[in-house]
Amino acid sequence: MEQAIAAFCDWLSATPISLTIQSVLWIIPVIQSIHIIAVTLIVGAVLMVDMKLLGVVGRDMPISGATRRFLPWVWVAVVVLLLTGSVLTVAEPRRELINNVFRLKMLLVLAACALTGGFQIIVSRNAEAWGDQPSNQWSARAVAIISLALWVGIIMCGRWIAYVEHG
């Protein structure tokens, strides 16, 4: 499996598109900047929803109001992140695909998306149960803490991809 991934990386990094991204100096910094700006959107939106779930902000507003207002931004940002992340991966496949921190980051991304999407669906199906004073307050708090931990972990992994040895 590892060998197949390595062979794929070597093929990918020799393709014209990869060679172009590698040789044009400004592409990687610009794509990384867009990537970070998309991360700021997620952090802002997720922080607002999670602080609402923890009861820190928006006490006069139902949870379903906060998820409707902020979570669409997370999905827009996730799409931008996948696109810009793909460009960076095409440019330097081994740096990402043969890197345990990158693999951990992708697992955390899957978990965060599953949690966010699942929670969004549950809240939209039963908005009344997720009003100002939800009866399931403790599950709301658990969702908030897990969500914050996942996104912080994703940012940490993102920065550390650059610092660990890759294949």
């Binding site: 910094p29 610009v30 990384q32 900047s33 970070i36 700006i37 991360v39 700021t40 959107l41 997620i42 952090v43 802002g44 939106a45 922080l47 607002m48 602080m51 902000v57 928006g58 507003m61 207002r69 912080v152 940012i155 940490m156 993102g158 920065r159 550390w160 610092y163």
Partner: protein
């Protein structure tokens, strides 16, 4: 003068540790990224409201009072971690073009906020909710988004010029 101060900072034991330790710089930088994304993410929530684009059913003052405490906390921590990163290679950063641009834009963002605070924001009661935000508020919000975007771009760029 700038170089003398930078050299002195860089020679402190703390700066030396950050520069030479295998984990010091990467970990401080990791937290710097977490704090700066929090600053920009939360400011975006406020700016989009000032542009009358989002959260229009909630009042401006409600949003600022809920969001800005997070922004200020994250900003203090971003400045602290940024200061530590700066110390470790101060003599290189002071002469680095993207670093200087980042500091300039940071000053612009601060000035923009002060001007807004003492002008349009004074009359917030008259446009807090249910009406369009005034042009001055929209300009301040658009400038804020522009400056903070630039801060991120130049911040990322520093990583390619100072190694």
């Amino acid at each position: 003068m700038l170089q003398t101060v930078a050299q002195w900072l860089q020679d402190t034991a703390l700066a030396q540790w950050i520069a030479t330790s295998a984990v010091g710089f990467p970990w401080i930088e990791t937290f710097h990224v977490i704090f700066i994304t929090t600053v920009v993410g939360t400011i975006t929530v406020v700016d989009l409201r000032l542009l009358n684009l989002t959260s229009t059913r909630r009042s401006v003052s409600q949003i600022t009072s809920e969001v800005l405490p997070f922004t200020w906390c994250a900003f203090a921590l971003a400045a602290l971690t940024g200061g530590l990163l700066f110390m470790s290679k101060a003599t290189e950063y002071v002469d680095d073009f993207p670093f200087r641009m980042k500091m300039l834009l940071l000053a612009c963002a601060g000035l923009n906020m002060v001007v807004f605070h003492f002008t349009a924001a004074r009359g917030v009661a008259s446009w807090d909710q249910g009406v369009d935000t005034p042009r001055a508020a929209k300009i301040a919000a658009a400038l804020s988004l522009l400056f903070w975007t630039g801060i991120i771009v130049f911040g990322r760029w520093i990583g390619f010029t100072v190694r």
